[in-house]
């Protein structure tokens, strides 16, 4: 019986975790240490880092893709997704930030949600009822709320946290997504495409661990302005 259940469930190695990273040399080791103990395959996309991010990643059993120069987090995510989708056994893709703010266990919560509820995309949210926040600064909270409100306005999706780095896609859904916004606006772009392609999606509460490091790397009010600009002007062909 157990064997049947196991055979029916998805082999965990079919989960590809994509970790875009840019100058994360000081923390990438720690997060990979956590990730490689999980039954997932990890794809680190080094976005042309000037530090030893890629070299550190090469010391772990993970795929390492290196952009020849810095292109932006959106481009890094798309590179990881393109690579993962070319692997024959890729069933699920999970995006995961390199700065150590996510909990690896959340990968399985998201993939579980995909398996159980027949949705194509599961989005992590830190503002759900069950979501746990630790150490968030007030200003950060309002920047995120503002970004969420703007994105909701532009994409008409009912989401509570538009700029969360943990998302899970089924492979067929990921295949239909094409990120063209290289910079931070990819978060809004993913949502815009989910909306346009009428994908089934759900939000899953996840943990976000705010550390001084992730706070410093995270989004400021200037990013929010950049994102609005990219969203409005970036579409010019």
């Amino acid at each position: 019986m157990e064997g049947i259940i196991k055979a029916m469930s998805i082999l965990p190695k079919h989960i590809f975790v994509i970790v875009p990273s840019y100058n994360e040399g000081t923390v990438i080791g720690k997060i990979l240490e956590e990730l490689v103990t999980q039954e997932v395959r990890v794809v680190v996309v080094d976005d042309g880092s000037a530090d030893e991010t890629a070299e550190i990643a090469l010391g772990y059993p993970v795929y390492v893709l290196k952009h020849p120069f810095n292109l932006g987090q959106g481009a890094a995510l798309q590179t990881g997704m393109t690579f993962a989708l070319r692997q024959p056994d890729c069933r699920y893709l999970v995006t995961f930030d390199a700065d150590g703010q996510h909990d690896p266990q959340d990968i399985f919560r998201l993939v579980d949600a995909l398996e159980k509820s027949n949705v194509e995309v599961a989005l992590g949210t830190r503002f759900g009822d069950e979501a746990r926040l630790s150490g968030i600064r007030k200003s950060r909270y309002w920047v995120l709320k503002l970004a969420t409100w703007l994105t909701k306005l532009l994409t008409r999706l009912e989401v509570s946290d538009t700029h969360n780095g943990v998302r899970a896609f089924t492979a067929p859904a990921a295949r239909r997504i094409h990120l063209t916004q290289n910079r931070m606006s990819h978060a809004s772009e993913i949502l815009a495409q989910i909306s346009k392609l009428k994908m089934m999606y759900m939000e899953v509460p996840v943990t976000v661990r705010y550390t001084p490091y992730s706070m410093q790397k995270g989004q400021s009010i200037w990013n929010a302005i950049d994102i609005v600009w990219d969203t409005l002007v970036g579409g010019l062909k």
Binding site: P61, V62, L65, K66, H67, P68, L71, A75, N182
Partner: protein
């Protein structure tokens, strides 16, 4: 014709020659050539600008030229922005393929199989010394 007019005329003419020598006349280049031609015409007949300006309701010929310049600049700005976007997309696609091909050429597919939980050496890790 005084010396100022002559210099402007030479400058416009050389610019036109240069642009005409470029291959692949895109819409923007055709527009530039037309505008340069118009500029040369205006050098010969400065009073024409005033006539034209009066026709469209501007007071002076110089105003008309200024407004045309503003319109052209804005058009050029939008055009350049679009072109820059297009190039960035192409560069991104090329960089993406380089990243993927390099990873596959390194230790490629076998890496993942060898990797997690494998018993390959004391470290149990792949992708050492790929470069």
């Amino acid at each position: 014709m005084h010396i100022g007019q002559f210099l402007i005329l030479c400058f416009l003419f050389l610019l036109m020659l240069y642009i005409l020598r470029l291959k692949n006349l895109t819409s923007i280049r055709i527009l530039i050539v037309l505008l340069l031609g118009l500029g040369m015409l205006f050098v010969f007949m400065p009073e024409l600008t005033t006539k034209l300006a009066n026709m469209v309701g501007f007071g002076r010929g110089a105003d008309l030229i200024l407004y045309l310049l503003v319109i052209f600049n804005l058009y050029y700005f939008v055009y350049t922005l679009g072109e820059q976007n297009r190039l960035l997309k192409m560069v991104t696609l090329a960089a993406r393929e380089i990243a993927i091909l390099k990873a596959q050429a390194g230790e490629g597919e076998s890496l993942a199989e060898k990797g997690q939980g494998g018993d390959d050496g004391p470290e149990g890790r792949w992708y050492h010394g790929a470069a």
